[in-house]
């Protein structure tokens, strides 16, 4: 199959798909909070952030389909691929856990994705640059929101501090994958299309250190990092997301209403 990452895919397709899958899977995770958030304002915030991410995913999937040129649209890419064909980071598919866990995951992603999309605005690929121009501004709000919550939780009660610290400790091993570069990306970076994540590293470090210090939280030590999502090797959790998200199109292919 062409989706297994056997090297026959166009690099730009793979690259765009990775960005789209990150946005869709994290957006879907946030949508799982609907009706369950701790306070009304947070209900709105989580849904708003989820909506931003799913909107970014739609634009990216549409473009990926155009790049591929085989007639797949955003729905085909979102609903008609199995887990091995998804290229998202393992970080974004991790279950919501408690509120602190969701905010820590959001913070770690946004602290990377915000400067990442800001750099992508300068891409030589005009469509990626245009999508990035929107995403960058949306992610700035996500970063601020999640960052403020980490400070509130970390510098809050004993219990909120413990939960926020546990979340960071558990999620830390998924942060290394954000900075990986493979051959697919190396070629695109050299052509000025993709962002070299090494350029994001210092800012990510600074943002994380700054917020964690303010939150009185310990920055976990870099240890062994999980990897594989970007090449279709996922944790068990992605399958459950897809089972729910794709159910209708699997049960009733081509259903329209």
């Amino acid at each position: 199959m062409s989706e297994t990452g056997n090297g026959s895919e166009l690099p730009l397709f793979t690259y765009t798909l990775r960005l789209a899958d990150n946005a869709l899977v994290l957006g879907h995770r946030l949508s799982e909070w609907c009706g369950k958030a701790p306070i009304l304002e947070e209900e709105m915030a989580l849904a708003n952030m989820g909506l931003d991410l799913i909107g970014q995913a739609r634009a990216l999937y549409t473009y990926a389909g155009e790049v591929e040129g085989e007639g797949r649209d955003e729905d085909a890419l979102a609903y008609r691929r199995d887990a091995f064909a998804f290229r998202n980071l393992l970080l974004v598919e991790q279950p919501n856990g408690d509120f602190a866990f969701t905010m820590a995951r959001q913070f770690l992603y946004a602290a990377f994705a915000h400067p990442f999309y800001r750099e992508l605005v300068a891409s030589r690929d005009a469509t990626l640059a245009a999508i990035a121009a929107k995403a960058e501004k949306e992610l700035a709000y996500h970063l601020r929101h999640a960052g403020e919550w980490l400070v509130r939780l970390g510098d809050g009660t004993e219990e909120s501090h413990r939960r926020a610290q546990d979340a960071l400790d558990e999620l830390w091993m998924y942060t290394g994958e954000m900075f990986e570069v493979d051959q697919v990306e190396r070629a695109l970076i050299e052509r000025g299309i993709a962002v070299d994540p090494a350029r994001i590293g210092p800012e990510w470090d600074e943002t994380v250190s700054h917020v964690l210090a303010e939150a009185t939280l310990q920055r976990p030590r870099d240890g062994w990092m999980q990897t594989g999502g970007r090449n279709g090797r996922h944790s068990e959790y992605l399958g459950y997301i897809l089972a729910e998200m794709q159910f209708l199109q699997r049960a009733y292919p081509d259903a329209r209403w």
Binding site: E41, M44, A45, R58, A133, Y141, R144, E148
Partner: protein, 168 residues
């Protein structure tokens, strides 16, 4: 004047006026022209194409706006109608017209403060004026409001809550 005999400029003007009058379903005081969402209207051999651009990536109003533009053009007498979406140049709140800003404030929504991209992402606070009493003694209640483009504020002077159209 029937469509068939109207000259091109007149058709162009009529098509623009019809499309430009479409309002945002979430903020009905703003037209898509005020918002800067309507980018172009082209009439070619009786075929009319309206070009719009999305505001926020996930703004659900975009589908409604595209449909409304199509209907408005049909009501104006055009039968061959297309609405296309462009992503660049990317929309920002800088595209809001002065008229649009005035309408927002009159409607009770504080217009965006400053230029897009000019704010600090982390812990930066903007001074937002209360659209009711004009006081700068306001505070943010929630970063995310009833729609993707708004945050919720409260005025400490007149005690009223209000929406703020976020700088984007």
């Amino acid at each position: 004047m029937p469509i068939a005999t109207a000259d091109r400029e007149e058709l162009q003007r009529r098509a623009w006026a019809a499309a430009a009058a479409v309002t945002d379903p979430e903020i009905p005081v703003l037209t898509i022209e005020d918002l800067g969402v309507l980018r172009a209207v082209r009439v070619e051999d009786g075929r009319v194409e309206a070009v719009i651009t999305p505001t926020y990536s996930g703004c659900p109003a975009m589908n409604a706006i595209a449909l409304e533009v199509e209907l408005a053009l049909r009501r104006a007498g055009f039968t061959d109608v297309a609405v296309t979406t462009v992503l660049q140049p990317a929309w920002s709140t800088d595209w809001l017209s002065e008229e649009g800003r005035r309408k927002l404030a009159a409607y009770g929504i504080a217009p965006p403060v400053g230029r897009a991209g000019g704010r600090r992402a982390l812990f930066g606070e903007t001074e937002v004026l209360c659209p009711r009493c004009g006081s700068s003694d306001t505070e943010r209640i929630a970063e995310f409001g009833s729609t993707a483009c708004k945050a919720l504020y409260r005025c400490r002077a007149c005690k009223e809550p209000f929406d703020y159209f976020k700088c984007h």
